[in-house]
C-alpha cells in the first residue's frame, strides 16, 4: 500500500469512528447525576449510597431556616419528586424553578440528605423582562424565609 493510500485509509477510519461516537454512539447514558425518576427506580439499591441527584427545584417547596441554617426543598423531573434536606446557605443562584445537583445519600425515610448543593444553570441567557430585577428572587428567598 502506498504511503498516501495508507494515510487516507487511516483518516477514513478515524472520521468514521468519531462519526459513530457523535451520532448514536453515546446517548447521555453516562451521567454525572441521577434524575429523581432514576433514583426512585433504583428502589432499595438507591438508599444510603453516595449519589448525585439533579433536577428542578419545585416552586413553593423551599423552606429556609435562617437560624439553624436548614434548607429543605423538593427536586423534580416532572415525573417523580424527591425531598431534599441540606444545611448551610445555598449558592446565590439557588431559587425555585432553577436546576440543581445535590451530592449526598437518599435515606430510607425518603429524604435526600445533601452534603453538597450545586446550581445547574441552563444554556439560556436573557436580560430580565421589564419589571423584574435580577437577584430579587434570591433576596426574597434568603430574607423572607419560606417563599
Amino acid at each position: 500500500m502506498s504511503k498516501r493510500n495508507w494515510a487516507i485509509l487511516v483518516a477514513v477510519i478515524l472520521v468514521a469512528t468519531f462519526g459513530w461516537l457523535l451520532y448514536g454512539g453515546l446517548n447521555k447514558n453516562v451521567v454525572f447525576f441521577l434524575t429523581p425518576k432514576e433514583l426512585v427506580a433504583k428502589g432499595a439499591n438507591g438508599y444510603d449510597v453516595p449519589v448525585r441527584l439533579g433536577g428542578m427545584v419545585v416552586p413553593g417547596s423551599v423552606q429556609w431556616n435562617e437560624k439553624t441554617l436548614d434548607l429543605r426543598f423538593r427536586v423534580t423531573d416532572d415525573s417523580d419528586t424527591v425531598a431534599v434536606h441540606s444545611t448551610g446557605a445555598p449558592p446565590q443562584m439557588f431559587q425555585p424553578g432553577m436546576g440543581v445537583v445535590v451530592e449526598g445519600k437518599y435515606e430510607r425515610a425518603g429524604v435526600f440528605q445533601a452534603t453538597n448543593l450545586m446550581v445547574k444553570h441552563s444554556n439560556e441567557y436573557h436580560p430580565p423582562r421589564p419589571g423584574e430585577k435580577p437577584e430579587e428572587m434570591y433576596k426574597t428567598l434568603m430574607k423572607g424565609g419560606a417563599s
Partner: protein, 52 residues
C-alpha cells in the same frame, strides 16, 4: 451579594489580562533574546538586523 458578584467578574477580567499581557511580555523577551543570539553568532552589531 452584588458586591461579591462584582468581585468574581473583576477578578476574571484581571486574570485574563494578567495572563495575556504576561504571555505577551514573554514572547517579546524570548524574541529579543533569540535576535541578540543571532546577531552575536553572525557577528553583526546588536540592533543592526531586523527590527523587532
Amino acid at each position: 451579594m452584588e458586591a461579591s458578584n462584582w468581585m468574581y467578574v473583576i477578578s476574571a477580567y484581571v486574570i485574563t489580562w494578567v495572563i495575556l499581557l504576561g504571555y505577551l511580555a514573554y514572547t517579546h523577551t524570548a524574541l529579543r533574546r533569540s535576535r541578540a543570539e543571532y546577531d552575536r553568532v553572525t557577528g553583526r552589531a546588536p540592533g543592526e538586523g531586523d527590527a523587532v
